[in-house]
Assembly symmetry: D2
Homo-oligomer: 383 residues x 4
């Protein structure tokens, strides 16, 4: 049996949402153990977090630069680091660990500038480290199955892509109440130049490209900040042109009441359609043209290898958000182990988003910002 | 008891879809009887149709001009005419009957040019005739209830409007097979300059305006003809700006497999959201911000007067497309009867779309065509 | 074109629910015109109803015996009579019209005693009149399609039948408030010995037999009256044994909050399953064993002749309760016309429930009452 | 931070389904570490399993009696044992560990005889050990919320309980193909006297009692083995009487095509209803009488403490089967830690099913078997 890999974490201290999700995801398939961390910019808080997480005191770092250096120097140093800080610090932290020779698992969006994103792409190539970006929705088995179906031509050439990701939790200015999750997401200094577009739109963009295998070529976008006083967009709408001629629409919103986390992707080809919704992720609606719609289910029947690779329990026993997130960690473990062991990874583990996907997400943000600023002109992605 | 009103029809002969729907809708609530018609440009076919419809032979006309004249001259002439021909002939026929003093019920879109549309608006004003445009989806009780809720402020000021109307029946070039319904809809000479945009997009546009009470101010659109050889768009996507600041998106498609007649409207305000889908029209999802979503049902509880006015049978006994269409005819009957009897109509009957709504639909088409032609620039509606 | 048939009605005066539904159903497909009626036991009320319904004063009868006699004597007498009175009077009225040579369309349940039911079966045979029982749910296209699929062996031999019909409108003693619909349904003198079992359970029983083609052989039942003071059951549950070995369960309830008219049938065979719910009647879920579930839709693809015979408009344009009810009237018209014209009826029109189906429903009631009274013993149906 | 508790396991070797689920559930919330096991009756297989699970070789036992003894004697012995063997061995194994002073987490059903079940109840009382029965569906937050709502009177006094648990995987005799999961479940020597009733019916019975707080008083049941040659029931239907007067129906099936793991519970009270389905477990439909149905969601709004205690991530991020199962392990950890630390446990942890619940499940099986054998007579539960 392969040993458990050693994981470090930057960010994710007490009260953080996504850090706890990463840890749970890492634990689920028993391929990782959390052994080190720099959990908070506040040292006392960081220590408390480490203790609660069974991380030894001597590996609870107050500074991530120190952590990168120290862990690289230990024989039992971390195999990989999970970066779960606000967007603006991703680049520097990732760069430090890559340079130290540590594999990286990084939350999205990749960076807050195109330049930083390109720098990370270069650094990953130069260091030959594994770099996994947690566009976690690609970990869902039925998302992977949708991708496999498109690739196999089951819906024919793609014509139309409809992707949407509405939420409602920022419909009022809760950032003014001290809500920590909200506060950094609406602050350009932490979140970068995009609000809903960066937080949700990049997931939607990534999901659309992941499933269709197509690339967004240009966008025509409009960003709006509906809540008075908000400095970043809380609502983003865009029309999409894909290379090869497909057309699409993308909608991201943080202010649409009745939507919790309603990511949904619909893809229509010459021969059929696919429809997947994150809140009921175990089903995939497949609509071959001229035939009755079929409800494909995770774990059932003769699904693709890509789907069965990402499933743990039988059909009818719902898996959810955490299992999909865990799949990213399971695949990251396989990739890291393969590098460590000097072998080729299981090809099924290669579906996880990469630093290049991250760069395309940042280019997507940049193009939408430009298009919106120019009054809706079609704007090409530079990536 | 009020007498049944006398209805004439132009178009709708053997094999026509929408003509049969109009007749069924007219019959449902027993306020109309069909007594005259010019059912086909082919005289023999017109006679056969008349006979099958129990229309006397002497009122089965071969020419609609003759019909307008003759019926206006009879003491028992038609109270109103239903125009169910392809779009390009709406204007001339409507004009002829209005000028003869006959009330008009006209299928949508109103005309194929802005000039014709404006002419009809003028003619209606000058003749003081009732003019009802069959944007039939406004006849659904839960659509009217949605409108009443927005008007009553139950979702607060509207911020976001998402409307879509995909179908799939034109995903292949079935017009080449001689399918009559398809043939005229893809032919600019019959359908006008817009394909999916005219057939579906105008319904979507009308529904969005009807429910929100807002007006589309400008559009940023892209029209595509995906099926090789097709001369009119079979796919339309647009971003919308509403007067007052709301934003929205509109999607119409005839080539998206798995969609039969999937008109859906979502409206999000500062305090709540609404979600209605035509294929399950008896429910309306209401999502007050911060509370559990509620499934409102036609016929249930304390719905608005506007909704109960348009419902026939109790909750749980589904009404459908024909009942909604019939509501347009029921309301038209009330308006016509009121004019005839020299009294004010029941206010609840005034919700049916008017010639002005029709003009706005034609302006919407024109602006989308222009925006798409100019590469996605924001284009104001001239209406 | 065939002439419109002449319809008379007994019951269904002002304020009645089901009478209005029958009239609307009769009107929808333009095969009937209402020309006579005995709409109320109250003469003035009956006259007002007749006038409102455009029925001539001389054919507005105060007594149904007089109506049966008088109409039979007119050259333009009614072809058929619709009986829409409370259950207890069905037998006498039906008998009178049959004996006068008039075809009968009768609401369900057929009678309130087994003896009366058997008497009507005999009378129909002796008079050779058409007798149609309005188990209206059999008029839904997807119900007929389900029947056709079972008959064609598409789900293999049937093993399990689950049928339920819950409502909630009698969860409180609204009969004490003077609600007319409730009052007669909970009064043994009007409704007969069964409450929810007669009103809903017979529909459920009929639907199960109609779709599966099987016959209930014996029942094990329990009836309960939950609302204090109520004399008839408002909740019925039963286990079913079908001839040939299938097993099933039936649940009818008038006191289960959140259920409007939630009739649902599920049938499971050796090779597949079917699932149909009345509140979303345009879909039928088909689950071939080992394959992805398929959502069959009214009007779509290659449905059975039985289904397309009962459909008016294309898929995606929902039909509902009234259309299904109208189908019973359309088929009744075909049967009556065939007798009148001395020809064989369209075979597709023969699917409507008969007097024999009605007898089986009464036998089902009797067996459930007996089983419940004997403490749940399995009790055979005598029919 | 509390130390991780030490878990041993009996059963669950290579290829087992439920053992892997237990381990994943134990790992999720980081309160347990697996340190010992007797994973298989086959020693080599047991060793391989242990190695794969990072269990030290000296704690990989070939015999569970030896394991019970040895672990009880170690200072670092297991705090609790998870028993995941076929039903027939639960009693002996549980008894051995209880007698050795080890806490027990046991799969369901508790035993295969009433006598064994009563013996375990006694043993738990005498040893004062924690005994948790993995009726895992009670770990779902919305199930716990439903229970809290009923207890708080939000639906009034319960009148009707409808519970069903159909599957389809045994619709054909797959046990003859060597399918391991199927083989033991249809073998009386391993599974005990009940098939679908024991495997699924006991979950359904437990869920009904858990949510309503009511106790089944007597049953009227019919068990059927539809697949030729099968010795245990693969289909069970029962009517239920609850103490206090509520009525209900229970359906369990392994042969109903189109059902994967379709456990569903509906409860109707005097004032409202609840509807929960395992395959979409994050929602709970609440239908207050006379008001619009509401869709309550895990993680949203002001849910009960019982629900929020069992939730990890926000609304819209679906949790599933594994998270619900993990909740049982999290609560078991709290109970075990409380005993170890000599303190009272968090009251919220006490909702997990107990040995007494297990006894009631066995009594339910016994009564259904007796009722079915006696031809459907109402039979009281002896528990």
């Amino acid at each position: 049996m392969a040993r458990r890999l050693r994981l470090g974490m930057v960010g994710g201290g007490e009260g953080a949402f996504i850090g706890a999700v990463h840890r749970l995801a890492a634990r689920m398939d028993d391929r990782w153990e959390l052994v080190a961390g720099c959990f908070s910019r506040d040292a006392a808080r960081g220590r408390r977090s480490a203790e609660a997480l069974h991380v030894p005191a001597d590996r609870a770092y107050a500074d991530w630069r120190e952590m990168a250096r120290a862990e690289a120097g230990r024989p039992d140093g971390v195999d990989a680091v999970a970066i779960v800080t606000p967007n603006a610090s991703h680049h520097a932290i990732a760069r430090a660990f890559l340079d130290a020779g540590t594999h990286v698992i990084c939350d999205k969006p990749l960076t807050t500038t195109l330049g930083d994103a390109r720098d990370l792409v270069r650094a990953v190539r130069e260091t030959s480290r594994v770099f996994v970006l947690t566009h976690n929705y690609t970990g869902y088995p039925m998302v992977r199955h949708a991708r496999a179906m498109v690739a196999a031509g089951e819906i024919g050439a793609v014509r139309v892509v409809q992707v949407e990701y509405p939420q409602d939790w920022l419909a009022t200015p809760i950032e003014e109440t001290g809500q920590k999750q909200a506060a950094w997401r609406v602050d350009p200094a932490e979140a970068g130049p995009a609000g809903s577009l960066g937080d949700l739109g990049t997931h939607a963009h990534n999901l659309a490209e992941f499933v269709t295998g197509l690339r967004v070529e240009s966008v025509c976008a409009e960003l709006t900040a509906f809540v008075p006083g908000r400095r970043l967009d809380d609502h983003a709408q865009a029309m999409l042109r894909f290379r090869g001629g497909a057309r699409g629409m993308l909608w991201a919103s943080q202010i649409s009441p009745g939507n919790e986390n309603a990511l949904r992707l619909r893809v229509f080809g010459e021969k059929g359609g696919l429809d997947w919704a994150q809140e009921h992720p175990n089903q995939l609606r497949f609509t071959p043209l001229g035939e009755a719609p079929r409800i494909l289910a995770r774990g059932a029947g003769a699904l693709s290898l890509a789907a069965s690779h990402a499933t743990r329990i039988p059909a009818g026993h719902p898996e959810g958000y955490l299992e999909a997130f865990a799949q990213i960690y399971r695949d990251a473990a396989e990739q890291v182990a393969a590098v460590t062991e000097g072998r080729a990874p299981d090809p099924a583990s290669l579906l996880v988003p990469t630093v290049e996907d991250g760069l395309r997400g940042i280019a997507f943000i940049a193009s939408c910002l430009e298009s919106s600023g120019r009054g809706g002109a079609w704007t090409a992605l530079e990536a």
